[in-house]
């Protein structure tokens, strides 16, 4: 089946998927209340989706983009643990002191959040912000406050909630700032190594089962660190074992699963596919089968779901687009269908479109140091 499934692919209705992203940006039903504490991440998935579809400028007015940038900056907070972004205003009361010129001082209950800071920087870059309001020193101080004794990072200062996602975000932020002085790389890498499992994947934390999502964060974090330390963190055979495990996770449906023996899920097409790309094994992925699976996850009115027949959401929509951008199917129909399956090129280490990463490179680092 893997030889010629491409002929079965129907046109990718880019308008409909863009509409799904736009709809979620305009508002979410009360049933999605559980994203209240991670709204910035959801916003990133929607904006990232529009970015990969290449429709941000045509679909979103300049005024709208400006207002969104302003809103994102109101989540920027400065205080005793340094600066960063909050998940949203869910703990922010009406307060006349809040203004852009003078970021609100936070309490222990509305501090910046490490994962949200990563997604905010990406979102602002997608919206082509000039980052003139970024408190770079403050962010470095914040990273320092989040790193724990064992080398891992907490989501918010002082919390015990720590796993490989936060470690990856700390590394990604350091990479964006081109300043690694906020993190202790050797300690972090030592923690990361304790999350490796006998299967070749990485668990969420020490002793946990190998899982596609946390494996991506581990592999991407090592990739980001390698770029600055010039060190290889995995032996050839370790890499080999990880690649084999990742490839085995592509099941008969063509989609990837997150753990051995589980069902395929659209998001793991990105998490496993992205890991394989970083490990230089992208040519070994069955990209035709992958696209066939993701095409079945499409919801007919737009958006992509975790599995065929499920409801779409921005998380699975964005990650599916990101996976397709790395693994585009070969559609040889010679007409317009093949065009609809082309997406912006993705930088697998930062998980953003290459143009957006280029914007980050030229706007996020401290120019005083790098000019």
């Amino acid at each position: 089946m893997s030889d010629q499934p491409s002929t079965l692919l129907s046109a990718f209705s880019r308008k409909a998927h863009a509409a799904h992203c736009k709809l979620c940006l305009s508002g979410l039903p009360a049933s999605q209340i559980d994203v209240d504490g991670s709204r910035l991440a959801l916003a990133f998935y929607c904006l990232g989706g529009l970015d990969l579809l290449g429709v941000l400028e045509e679909e979103i007015s300049p005024r709208n983009r400006e207002e969104w940038r302003t809103w994102l900056w109101t989540q920027h907070a400065k205080g005793k643990y340094g600066s960063g972004f909050r998940p949203g205003p869910f703990m922010t009361g009406r307060d006349p002191r809040i203004s852009l010129q003078d970021p609100a001082d936070y309490t222990n209950y509305d501090t910046p959040h490490l994962i949200m800071t990563y997604t905010a920087l990406l979102s602002l870059a997608i919206l082509r912000d000039d980052f003139s309001k970024l408190d770079r020193k403050g962010i470095i101080a914040f990273l320092r406050c989040c790193q724990r004794q064992d080398g891992s990072f907490s989501t918010v200062p002082g919390s015990n909630e720590n796993d490989l996602r936060t470690l990856y975000c700390a590394f990604a932020i350091s990479n964006m700032l081109d300043d690694w002085s906020g993190v202790d790389i050797p300690q972090a890498v030592a923690f990361l190594a304790t999350c490796r499992t006998y299967e070749g994947g990485y668990g969420q934390s020490t002793f946990c089962e190998g899982q596609g999502g946390t494996t991506y964060t581990a592999i991407a974090a090592l990739g980001l660190a390698s770029a600055v330390t010039k060190k290889e963190y995995l032996t050839r055979s370790e890499k080999q074992v990880t690649i084999e495990w990742l490839l085995r996770n592509q099941d008969d449906s063509g989609g990837f699963r997150g753990r051995t023996g589980k069902e395929a899920d659209a998001c793991y097409c990105f998490w496993c596919g992205g890991s394989l790309k970083i490990l230089g094994a992208e040519s070994l992925v069955n990209s035709e089968a992958l696209a066939t699976y993701l095409s079945r996850c499409r919801f007919k009115y737009g958006g992509i779901a975790k599995a065929p027949g499920e409801s779409p959401d921005p998380y699975h929509t964005y990650l599916s687009l990101a996976a397709l951008s790395m693994y585009p199917p070969q559609v040889h129909d010679g007409n317009s269908t093949s065009e609809t399956w082309k997406f912006g090129v993705l930088d697998p280490l930062l998980n953003a479109r290459e143009e957006t990463v280029a914007w980050i490179r030229s706007h996020v680092p401290d120019r005083k140091v790098h000019s």
Binding site: S2, C24, L25, G27, L28, P29, A30, Q32, I33, D34, V35, D36, G37, S38, R39, L42, A43, C46, L47, E67, T70, W71, L72, F90, M91, T92, G93, R94, T107, Y109, D110, Q149, D150, T155, N160, E161, N162, T197, Y198, E199, Q204, S205, T206, F207, C208, E209, G210, W245, L247, R248, Q250, D252, R259, T260, G261, K262, S283, L284, V285, N286
Partner: protein, 376 residues
Amino acid sequence: MFDDDELLFSERPEWSDVTPLEQYENLNPLAPIFYTDEYKDATNYLRAIVKSGEKTKRVLELTENIIKQNPAHYSAWQYRYETFITLLFPSSPPKPSKALATNPMVIAELALMDELAVRFLKTYQVWHHRRLLVALTRQPRRELGFIKKSLEADAKNYHTWSYRQWTLAFFGGAGGGGGVAVESSDENDIDFEVGEDLWAGELDFVDAMLAQDIRNNSAWHHRFFVVWGCGVREGELDRERISKRELIFVKQHISFAPNNPSAWNYLRGILRHTSTPFSSVAAFAEPYTSSKESISRDNIVDLDNPRPGEGAELPCSEALEFMADVHEAKTTEEGVNSAVEIWKNLATEHDTMRKKYWEHRIRSAHRSLNTATNAA
């Protein structure tokens, strides 16, 4: 979600002394949530309480209400924990102790967590709060029982298994590093329920889980964690005996259900962990690469090399892959040829999904063979 007679906090006389604090949303926000009136109402009071710093009994009621509406509200959890600690230790710094387990407040909190863990099985914060409580009460055995029950609802739940691994590592005296830091200065006065015997039932527990579902990778992973991943306990010191026991265990389970990637991964895992060459189990794996008809049926039971069970779907692609690795490792031309033969089989017939990968293995095996020949 609410009883008809449940009042909003703004309608309750006992909350009339608090001025609710509304969320600051600004113009044109990204992804605003259309909150229900109940959620708006309760969080208005939470913001007000956090601002005033009140940590009283009614805050537990308020945060419980919010958590039940949004179990991922990590600030509500955080404030609840701090309030709980303030109420539990009104005049002294918090200190773990076994005696806490009989405290009515603690009992009530754990009972609520039992209820919420089942209701919000997939929410990180539910498990996180539990860790904090148990680090105080030091009653890990109760947790192991609770986890066992909660896996009945979802046998592969990631948080539940992680929590079991954390509980064992944190209280079982082997390795630790599970994540919660508790005052260590005066550990001597604490009557810990800590000890290696906490681990005593783990292998039976894994057996029971695998008896329900032999393909439950979480259970296989847990076995690896118990036997190899987190220290060596008394009774397990003879590692050669343990290796042998584990090999017999995994081979038997492969013979019950050969097409089980979890079991094959466990086999590879043990061999790598103990630096044992794959070839040492070639005699076991070989029969699983044959087609059904060609297997000779005899009545000899060989514990070291259990045969595929009757009705097994053969050949098994995991076994093919395993034997190809064995052949390739011989680094002889003959070995590589045998491996290539198997890879071709996998690519064209038994595992076409990974066709590109098998072709890659063929290319790289030929390449390294050529390099070796040229060097010689």
